[in-house]
């Protein structure tokens, strides 16, 4: 450990650490375009120049390694002047089309201009014209005029995905980013370049012109598209007189799970959150009320011989309450899952599509197989907890707990409950890491959560925390709930 001084304040950090990393970790404002934690330094944008005592000229923070006693200034008059000049160069040929740019509100150029710029343009000659609205493939649109040539996207394609679709062509003022001739941008992680792009050059075809980012609320959540459980932000809002609408998923940095990225399929799975069931309770193919269907279910549970099928994507708490219910009414709980070898890879995509299979196994639920089919014959009630593998061998009483449209709309009784984007819970991924997803405080729930429905069936009043705490010693290595709420924890396989 060494001590460095930034703007005369001491900071203790690891020896030989990259200066820009130390500054960012200590929340010291340092403008930059090309440096990114996941891609490392490139040193091409020159935006992160800092003043170092003893050096004649300003130095870039992304190519300076700290040593004991290093004295850095990021706010001195001369370095502010330098930063302003560099920014002016970056903006020389920028079209300044912020009113129609989707990046506005989360754009580094805008932020730095407010921080360092605030000058009038001195450019009297015509700006450089380049191509706009180029469709690169994989839902990505490129505006070459907005580009600052930081090469984050190029480095992502060469270093992370190793697919080399993007390339810088030309020289100097005329250089531009494009796809390698005869190639399209096509890899399962391509849309990450949209988040990497610090300006509005790369935008998502799926999101562009839909929303202004400052009207969006972000909720910390977990992607449910496979069992990798990548951390995400759900960006959503409610338009006037309309229900809450999810506009996009964005990766959320979580070094224990997904690093900085998510796959395109997971990113686009936000659409499923907007296709949930309307808030209705169905009993014998008629719209009913919550109370009457609850009564009906309790009566059936007492009189009939039941079997349950759960989706292996239910949260830890939901599964625990299903377990409680099964112990109260003595029925077996089964689960099933889908394995898609084509989908899986060794990066962020798992071939198992259910996001909480680990817990289903942990709680000793049984895998659907022959005994399940055989035992169905003697049963008179099927409980389906959102499993898509449900089948109905013959006319039989069926109670379903669903988030989306079910297969047996006309013949079963249905509880509609809140999908994960409007709920909170814990999930354990295929590597045995337990993480939490949160509920937005701004969204008014229209549906009941599965936890509330199960509590009512049990005549209990467990919260997410209390049901987890009850079983934490038995199943979860005694990891406290509050710790998981702060950060993912490794349970181990």
């Amino acid at each position: 450990m060494v001590t460095i001084y930034v703007n005369n304040k001491p900071i203790i950090c690891k020896d030989k650490e990259l200066l820009i990393k130390v500054l960012k970790e200590n929340d010291i404002f340092i403008p930059h375009f090309c440096y990114h934690e996941s891609l490392g330094a490139d040193g091409n944008c020159r935006m992160c120049l800092v003043e170092i005592e003893g050096s004649k000229r300003p130095q870039i923070a992304c190519d300076t390694f700290v040593y004991d006693g290093l004295r850095v200034h990021t706010k001195s008059e001369s370095i502010l002047e330098t930063n302003k000049d560099i920014l002016e160069l970056e903006l020389l040929s920028h079209p300044v089309d912020c009113p129609t740019c989707d990046q506005a509100g989360e754009c580094s150029l805008q932020n730095y201009y407010m921080e360092y710029g605030l000058y009038d343009s001195r450019v009297s000659v015509a700006k450089n014209k380049k191509d706009k609205a180029l469709d690169l493939g994989s839902n990505i649109m490129l505006d070459q005029e907005r580009c600052v040539l930081c090469m984050r996207c190029v480095r992502f394609c060469s270093d992370i995905t190793k697919t080399d679709e993007l390339v810088v062509m030309g020289r100097g003022n005329d250089s531009y980013i494009t796809t390698t001739p005869f190639m399209r941008l096509s890899n399962p992680y391509a849309m990450n370049v949209i988040d990497l792009c610090p300006v509005g050059a790369l935008t998502s075809k799926d999101f562009r012109f839909k929303q202004r980012v400052w009207f969006l609320d972000s909720t910390q959540s977990i992607c449910h598209a496979c069992s990798k459980n990548c951390s995400i932000f759900i960006d959503h809002n409610a338009q006037k007189n309309q229900n809450d609408h999810v506009h996009r998923f964005r990766p959320r940095v979580n070094t224990m799970v997904n690093g900085h990225f998510i796959c395109d399929e997971g990113r686009l799975s936000y659409k499923k959150a907007n296709e949930t069931r309307k808030n209705d309770f169905i009993m014998k193919s008629r719209i009913s009320t919550y109370e009457s269907i609850l009564k009906h279910t309790k009566k059936l549970l007492q009189s009939e011989n039941a079997i349950a099928l759960v989706s292996a994507s239910l949260s830890v708490e939901q599964m625990l309450l299903v377990k409680e219910l099964s112990e109260m009414y003595l029925f077996d709980v089964y689960y099933d899952y889908k394995e898609d070898e084509k989908f899986g890879d060794d990066f962020l995509k798992s071939s198992i599509k259910e996001s909480n299979l680990y817990t289903a196994k942990l709680l000793d639920f049984k895998l659907v197989d022959k005994p399940y089919e055989e035992s169905l014959i003697s049963k008179s009630l099927i409980l389906n907890f959102n499993s898509e593998f449900i089948s109905k061998p013959r006319p039989i009483e069926m109670i379903e707990f669903l988030t989306h449209e079910g297969k047996f709309e006309r013949s079963s009784s249905i509880f509609t409950y809140e999908y994960f984007h409007n709920d909170m819970g814990l999930l354990i991924n295929s590597d045995g890491v337990i993480s939490s997803y949160k509920k937005s405080s701004k969204v008014k729930s229209e549906k009941f959560t599965l936890l509330k429905i199960l509590n009512d069936l049990l005549d209990e009043s467990y919260t997410n925390e209390s049901i987890y705490e009850k079983y934490k010693e038995l199943f979860f290595k005694n990891i406290p709930y509050s710790k998981i709420m702060k950060q993912s924890q490794r349970l181990g396989l």
Partner: protein, 149 residues
């Protein structure tokens, strides 16, 4: 489309260069020259072959080649004129030559940085051959004699 193969002579040269330089990136320009000298331009198929030989992505060759003015990505039957735009030539009225050359549609014109012939400016290279102390009349004569080019 048929493939592209580097001649045995070129492959031998590549092997030799691989030993000479510490990194294989150093072979980018030599290999681009090999292709251009052979085909007259850089074809996608040839660049893909080059990327296989050096085990580097095709994008790298495109990126490097597009940096320079002398590499071409399209086959052209036209005469290739590289007109110097640097200081000495500029002072000796290369702009006038440029305005003239722009009007001719039988040539492919590129303005390039100094070709190292300042003493005899203004100058240009036509199909790689230097032509010095130029004026419009002289240029016209040179370009008129297609067989001599």
């Amino acid at each position: 489309m048929s493939g592209y193969t580097f001649s045995a002579e070129n492959l031998k040269e590549i092997d030799k260069l691989l030993k000479r330089y510490p990194s294989k990136e150093a072979l980018t320009l030599p290999i681009l020259w090999m292709v251009q000298n052979d085909l007259g331009y850089l074809s996608n198929i040839a660049l893909r072959e080059a990327s296989k030989i050096l085990d580097m992505p095709t994008s790298h060759f495109y990126s490097v080649a597009s940096f320079y003015t002398m590499f071409k990505f399209k086959k052209s039957e036209k005469v290739f004129v590289e007109l110097c735009k640097s200081l000495s030539c500029e002072l000796n009225n290369s702009d006038e030559l440029y305005e003239y050359l722009k009007t001719r549609d039988d040539i492919e014109l590129v303005r390039v940085e100094c070709l190292g012939s300042c003493g005899s400016s203004p100058m240009c290279a036509i199909n790689g051959k230097y032509h010095e102390n130029l004026n419009i009349k002289k240029l016209d004569t040179i370009l008129g004699d297609k067989d001599a080019l």
